[in-house]
Amino acid sequence: MSQQTSRTPIRFVHASDLHLERPLGGVSEVPGHLRELFLEAPYLAAQQVFETVLSEGADALLLAGDVVDVELAGPRAVLFLIEQFKRLADHHIPVYWSGGHTDQTTEWPAHARLPENVTRFPTAHVESISCQRDQEPIACIQGISRGPNRPLQDRSPEDGTLDDSQFRRDAHGLFTVGVSYGTDVATGTEGDRVHYMALGGRHRRQTVDQSPGLAHYCGTPQGRTPDESGPHGCTIVRVDESGHVKTRFAATDAVRWLTETIEITAGTDAAGLLDQILQRTGRLSEKHAGPELLISWRILGQGPLIYQLHPGGLADRLLEQVRQQQQQQGMKAWSVAIDCDAPLEVPAQWHDQETILGDLLRQIGQLETNPEIPLKLADFLPEALREIYGAESEHADGGLPETNPLAQLVTIENPLQRQTLLREAAKLGIDLITVEEPRS
């Protein structure tokens, strides 16, 4: 941005992490009416990206990695991409594609020739290409692809590292765009070398550097799991005459995951919570018109519902009712789960009761306040399995040895997991004991 000369306005579309090989997931059971959408959503979102390029009249499409894993996606994805690239070629729109972990250059089938308008960047060095309009250069596109697949955090020196130090602004003052699947520079300095750094590898949209150049992760065009909630899409990059860069988000997702939090009061019962969920669903349907909504409900607040809502109990029953009501009312939404991770708050007198419930709550409190007390879940493995692994020496705390892989099941990895486990166990215990109470 040092040269504030008058330039031709430019427009790019920046997309990454299309992951055509990965259908939606993260739910235990996909409802029948959504199965087709779960399978097709990545393709629909990708197609919407290409539609955006055409509708916006972009000068180029920047693909920043993880477009497709050909081995997993199969020929359908290959043919789909070639067809979409040809559509752009018909409109003389170039495509600049930087490879990520899944879309190595070498993985692309040799017989599937890409159209002339597609440029794939090499892995060895940063390649610089002139982007032209009417035979006149309007921007300089620099890019590099990631080496052999290995997760970023697991990279070793012998892996193909990403040597992005060769990114340089154009000597003639052309607007320079870098395309890469992440960078190796320190966080916050990704945009120091070019005017706009189109980054890929993160599914959530994020701008990591603002000055002197803009470094931006556009995110995946389609959220895959309940964790990737909110709208997803691509980024439209506009460069005005003075060289200022403006980014605009364009939603492309066919299915939108949402995580909604509902706070309840002490007087709220299950029916009241059901009403609140349905009302919120109605508002969300109006707000997010277009894509199918998959909503995860997070319940906070206080009252008896907090310790009654747990998987396998009231939460599942309530979820079933919510799904039925949503279907009956014709809402374009489906509820994924009802989770209640609020701290367990039971009436104070319960702790003082001279009952089993009181003893249970007191134990929970003791285990929560003393994280050093082990739970020793390995004791509850079936005897046969314990015998199978029992020959090995036991761990110091009485559980299975750490080398034993069964420890993955019975070991609490972190305090948060322990806290969550104790909370859910307390709910389950209260439920079991409270259910039995009228009989006694």
Partner: protein, 1243 residues
């Protein structure tokens, strides 16, 4: 906390029940079945814990009204307050609690809120209260239904305090679910072990979290899995899920391999494309060559034909060329010549025809000369026709007038009523008419009188007949019912019937009176006999009186002393009164009986008299049968009808009289009319008129006689005029005929065969006259014809002249054309027309050949098209090669076919490859497998979380169970052992539980341990009661003191045990526990009463008291509380009657000897009460081998604990189990070491 007062405003069957001053120790309430004992117990629970929906449904609203709820006054060592709870209408409302302090003067208004109540309850929830502090019949009965093992488990859980939430069931459920989950996960090892070896290995780098776990299960399972493990793992409920995951992973690997194959196929597909392009080029070339030869073969015939035509053209060429239209010009000239010649001949023929026609026209010259005369006669033609018409008209008028004269005479005769044969109808004069007119008037008058009299007679007769009909219909109705037609008779009949009815009523009244008198007489007859008790009383009084008198007389020194005289006087009076009373009573009865008999006789007389009267009336009325009332009603109706007919009869008589008068008047009028008619006929005869002449017509026809003479005169005048006209017509006819003969135009034909039609039907045909008019017309028409023929002859002559000139012109044109033809032959160098035509024909043949050659050349060019230049075919079609073309074509076709076959084969292979590629490109199986795998992994992850939760909960609940069994159960067992020993008089001294078994054993005084199933029902209940009392004792030690409610718990105890149990309960209460005991057995209640307990009877419902004394609300003074452990057993009262069933059980032979176990005695040398029996087998008594009957249905624990933390309870946070508590084999308790044995030891 203790209950001091209980007040129910309304609850169930109770209304305004107040139980004040309840004892702080034991209070026994007696109430029969359905007296409301359970309701009272529920009321206590409702006040303490609220009106639950179940209680509302059963006990609210109150049956007897009142506000739903009530109050309890509670007291403990610190405070004394009243809890009032009133339920609202809302189903979910537990009732509003208000607290008041009755002892405080300044307590003021009650305070809302249940804080004090909750504090008083010591945080004991309702379920604990119901399970611990209340023993009811239900529980007793439930215990009886359990099997021995179940009862042992139930009692065991009771002693451990774990029965309230059925912790054992919860733990069992958790264990089962957990086991299923871990089996599900562990089964992966099984699935992997059994997976076919051909399956590719899963991902090289498994997913985090799942990878290590599954890898672990895979490793040992492959190597060292035992059959037992497999058995366990195969029972997994989620086996299908894990297998599905493995299948999906294998499928994903297979599909990935398929994708790689797609790339190979795509390369092969491109090779196919290249090869096919080469073959296609070769095929095109060979196809072109073959096509060239094929075209050449097809061109052979045309090629030869074109060569032949070229030769012919060269042969016929030469000579002077003729123009193309030479023949047409020749023929045109010939046609013109022939046309002119033909027209000239036609004109000549027409001229000859005109000449012949003029000759055929005939012209009468005489007619032409006399034309003027004929015209003059023609002018007379109208006059001749007028004469004919006048003659006809006058003749017709004469004839018509004659007909009118004849018809007028006929009509007049008919008008006078004369017959047609009386043709001598003469004219009647005016004088004759005047003489006849008075007679006519007289006749008309008499006729009118007769008509009037007849009409009057008819009207009066009809009136009389209608009245007669009325009377007849009334009489016919009466006759139908057999009633008299006379009014008087009918009224008599009605009177008799009414009388008869009254007699019947009198008879009935008399009979009823007689019956009543008869029954009265029977009663009076009975009254005559004095009742036995009265007679006895009177006799007693009489005898007593006599005795008193006798005693006074015979024994003056009677003990009564000075009162003897008075008593004797009293005795006399009594005896006299008795005799007088009997006499007057019998006399009065006899009088009433006589009076009654007299009345009966009087009634009989009246009855007989009435019957006689009835018979008399029946004779008069001829009563046979039927209802008198109905007959009386019919007679009354008939009488009323007869009375209504009386004025009608009078009218009928008047009408009959008037009819007779009218008939006489008619007769007089008819006689007068006959006389006048006789005068009329006499006068007609005198005037010469027919006697049948009607006088009514005579006046109408007298004016018609004058017209007949006028008609006769008119007939004569018309006949004369007709004669004059005929004479004029004949003169004119003669003139016409003369001229016709002169010109020779007589109409002879008309006279012979064609008469005029008009004259044919006439009466006097006049042929001459008719012929004259026709002759005249004929002459005139002939004259007009001659004039027209003269004019036509002139026109024909002019026309023949013009035809002759035209013929001359055509003859000149034919000569000119002959000259032009001759010049044509000369120019073509021909001699004549034939040579000229032959020369032209030769020239036409040459032109046709040239045209054919052009067509053939065009066909050849079309067949070649753009395929090859024509030179190529010229070479091929040379004479040297033209015959080898077929051979060349076959060779080229064979080459082409070979290339095509190869191309077809390649196309098929390429199509197959393309189909495979398309199928792969459209295949979504891999995505679906990934989606399914993700779902399965999510489910497995959820199962993993669930297993952790279940394991954690199990961990805590097992800890609680261990805590209860380790710390609470031994103390409870100790207390219960003491109490049971007291209740059974030392027969059973100890309750204990073996290691790892949730059952109880009871040890007898001889040291024999019996299982629960070996105990009788009563002993089991005593055991249950002991355990409950022990638990309440333990709760009290922890600061929870609540009243205990026992409902008929002693019902199955024998008398001795019941007495001992009652004493135990009293001791228990004396130790500071309030006990409310309800019983429906009075002997139990009496037993407590004898033991000086607070005993009360429940009042009857709605507050009614027993008729007997009501000790319910008055507390019985109770004895001083006996010191614990120092109670002496009171002498046993005689046992109350017991049900036979119980006796049978008592008499039962000794129960079958249960397998018993002698447990090791505690070591004498060691002070701790809990002995590790398992660790000291040598020091114990000879141990009987494993107790086979004591089977552990639920293991005590799944594993041994090594707690790093200790369960804390409210107020006992410092209590913990020592390390010696582990591996407990038994809690051995004895009375001697009870105080030290509060902590169990684990061996």
């Amino acid at each position: 906390m203790k209950i001091t007062d209980l007040n129910i405003e309304g609850f169930g069957v109770w209304h305004n029940l107040n139980l004040p001053d309840i004892s702080p120790r034991l209070t026994a309430f007696y109430g029969a079945n359905e007296a409301g004992k359970t309701t009272l117990m529920q009321f206590v629970r409702a006040i303490l814990y609220g009106m639950s929906p179940e209680r509302r449904e059963r006990y609210l609203p109150p049956q007897e009204g009142g506000r739903p709820g009530g109050s309890l006054t509670l007291a403990d060592s610190q405070q004394h307050f009243c809890v009032n709870r009133i339920a609202a209408q809302d189903l979910g409302d537990l009732g509003r609690v208000t607290i008041s302090w009755p002892d405080r003067q300044d307590s003021g208004a009650p305070v809302a809120g249940d804080r004090l109540l909750r504090e008083a309850l010591g945080e004991v929830d309702e379920s604990t209260f119901s399970n611990l502090f209340a023993i009811g019949l239900g529980e007793i009965q439930r215990l009886a239904t359990l099997s021995g093992t179940q009862a042992a488990q139930a009692l065991y859980r009771l002693t451990s305090g774990l029965d309230r939430v059925s912790l054992y069931d919860v733990i069992q459920g958790l264990r089962q679910t957990r086991t299923q989950l871990i089996q599900e996960i562990g089964l992966h090892a099984e699935g992997q072990a059994e997976a076919p070896s051909g399956q590719p290995a899963p991902r090289a780098v498994p997913e985090p979290g799942q990878a290590a776990f599954f890898g672990a299960s895979r490793g040992p399972a492959r190597g060292g899995q035992t059959p037992r493990d497999a058995t366990i793992l195969q029972d997994s409920l989620c086996q299908g899920l894990v297998l599905q995951r493995d299948r999906l992973r294998g499928r994903i690997d297979a599909l990935k391999e398929q994708n790689r194959q797609w790339s190979q196929w795509a390369v092969r597909f491109e090779e196919f494309d290249r090869r096919m392009e080469e073959i296609e080029t070769q095929v095109d070339e060979r196809q072109h060559a073959a096509r060239t030869i094929e075209i050449a073969v097809g061109l052979k015939s045309n090629w030869r034909r074109r060569s032949k035509l070229t030769g012919l053209i060269q042969q016929l060429g030469g000579g002077t060329p003729l123009p193309e239209d030479a023949i047409e010009r020749l023929e045109t000239l010939q046609e013109k010549k022939a046309g002119h010649q033909r027209k000239a001949d036609i004109l000549q023929g027409q001229r000859h025809q005109l000449r012949d026609e003029v000759e055929r026209l005939g012209v009468n010259e005489l007619m032409v000369q006399n034309a003027c005369r004929i015209d003059a006669l023609g002018e007379q033609r109208d006059w001749l026709q007028a004469l004919e018409r006048q003659t006809e008209r006058l003749a017709a008028e004469a004839e018509e007038t004659a007909e009118r004269l004849a018809s007028e005479q006929t009509r007049l005769s008919s008008s006078l009523g004369l017959s047609s044969h009386s043709g001598a109808l003469r004219e009647i004069s005016e004088g004759d008419l005047k003489s006849l007119r008075p007679l006519v008037q007289a006749l008309q008058e008499t006729e009118r009188c007769v008509d009037q009299a007849q009409e009057e007679l008819v009207a009066l007769s009809q009136n009389e007949q209608s009245l007669q009909l009325k009377l007849e219909s009334a009489s016919s109705r009466g006759e139908q019912h057999g009633l008299p037609m006379d009014v008087q008779e009918a009224s008599n009949l009605v009177a008799n019937l009414r009388k008869r009815l009254q007699v019947e009523q009198r008879i009935e009244q008399a009979q009823a009176h007689a019956l009543e008198m008869e029954s009265q007489s029977h009663e009076l007859l009975n009254e005559q006999i004095m009742p036995l008790w009265l007679f006895g009383l009177l006799l007693t009084v009489f005898v007593l009186g006599a005795l008193m008198v006798g005693l006074w007389l015979l024994v003056p020194s009677a003990p009564l002393g000075s009162m003897g005289g008075l008593l004797a006087l009293l005795g006399v009076g009594g005896a006299g009164f008795s005799w007088m009373f009997k006499f007057f009573a019998e006399d009065a009865a006899a009088d009433r009986l006589d009076a009654c008999h007299r009345q009966i006789e009087l009634a009989d007389k009246q009855l007989q008299e009435s019957r006689r009267e009835k018979e008399h009336l029946d004779g008069e009325l001829a009563m046979v049968d039927g209802s008198v009332v109905l007959r009386l009603q019919a007679a009354e109706r008939h009488l009323a009808a007869l009375e209504n007919l009386l004025p009608v009869e009078t009218e009928r008589k008047v009408a009959l009289h008037e009819t007779t008068g009218a008939r006489q008047r008619l007769q007089v009028a008819q006689e007068k009319q006959n006389r006048t008619l006789a005068d009329w006929k006499t006068r007609l005869v005198a005037l010469g008129l027919p006697t049948e002449l009607d006088y009514r017509l005579l006046t109408k026809v007298t004016d018609r006689y004058g017209k007949l003479s006028n008609l006769e005169q008119q007939v004569q005048a018309r006949l004369k005029e007709v004669e004059d006209r005929r004479r004029e017509h004949d003169a004119l006819t003669r003139r016409i005929r003369a001229i016709a003969e002169e010109v020779g135009c007589v109409l002879e034909e008309a006279r012979d065969g064609q008469p005029v039609g008009r004259e044919e039907g006439s009466e006097n045909p006049d042929t001459a006259q008719a012929s004259a008019l026709d002759q005249l017309d004929h002459l005139l028409s002939e004259r007009r014809k001659q004039f027209s023929r003269v004019e036509q002859r002139k026109k024909l002559r002019e026309q023949a002249k013009s035809l002759k000139a035209e013929e001359g012109r055509h003859r000149r044109a034919v000569a000119g054309l002959n000259r032009r033809l001759a010049a044509l032959w000369e120019s073509a160098e021909c001699e004549d027309e034939t040579a000229y035509r032959a020369r032209f024909e030769q020239q036409r043949k040459v032109a046709r050949h040239r045209k054919q050659r052009k067509v053939v050349s065009r066909e050849i060019a079309a067949a070649i098209g753009q395929h090859e230049p024509e030179e190529t075919f010229t070479r091929l079609l040379r004479p040297q090669t033209i015959d080898r073309l077929e051979t060349l074509w076959e060779e080229a076709t064979a080459k082409l076919e070979a290339s095509q076959q190869e191309l077809k084969k390649l196309a098929g292979q390429r199509g197959e490859m393309k189909q495979k590629l398309s199928a792969l490109a459209e295949d979504r199986a891999l995505a679906e497998a990934i989606l399914d795998l993700d779902g399965v992994q999510q489910q497995l992850s959820a199962a993993q979380d669930r297993w952790r939760e279940y394991a954690t909960v199990s961990r805590m609940l097992e800890r609680i169970r261990d805590e209860y069994e380790a710390h609470r159960q031994p103390e409870a067992l100790h207390e219960a052992s003491t109490l049971l020993g007291r209740m059974t008089a030392g027969k059973y001294q100890r309750i204990w539980t073996p290691l790892a078994n949730d059952i109880l054993l009871v040890e007898t005084a001889s040291g024999q341990s019996l299982p629960i199933e070996a105990l009788s029902r009563g002993t089991r209940e005593q055991l249950l009661l002991s355990v409950r009392l022990a638990l309440v004792t333990l709760m009290a030690r922890r600061g929870v003191k609540l009243p205990m409610v026992l409902d008929d718990v002693l019902v199955n105890f024998d008398a001795v045990r019941a007495r001992q149990a009652a004493e135990v309960l009293l001791e228990f209460a004396a130790a500071g526990h309030q006990v409310l005991l309800f019983t429906c057995h009075e002997h139990v209640w009496q037993m407590f009463r004898e033991l000086k307990a607070d005993c009360r009877r429940l009042p009857r419902r709605a507050g009614a008291q027993d008729p007997e004394e009501n000790p319910a609300l008055a507390p019985v003074p109770e004895s001083e509380p006996a010191a614990a452990g120092a109670t002496e057993v009171a002498p046993l009262p005689s046992p109350p009657p017991r049900p036979k069933k119980k006796k049978k059980r008592q008499k039962k032979s000794p129960p079958p000897q249960p397998p018993t176990t002698r447990m090791p005695e505690p070591l004498q040398s060691e002070s701790p009460p809990l002995k590790p029996a398992a660790t000291e087998p040598a020091a114990s008594e000879p141990v009987v081998p494993e107790p086979v009957v004591i089977e552990a249905t639920v293991p005590a624990n799944e594993f041994s604990y090594d707690w790093a933390y200790h369960l804390t309870s409210r107020g006992e946070s410092d209590r913990s189990a020592g390390p010696e508590d582990e591996h407990v084999l038994a809690y051995v308790l004895s009375g001697e070491v009870a105080e030290e044995s509060t902590k169990p030891r684990r061996a």
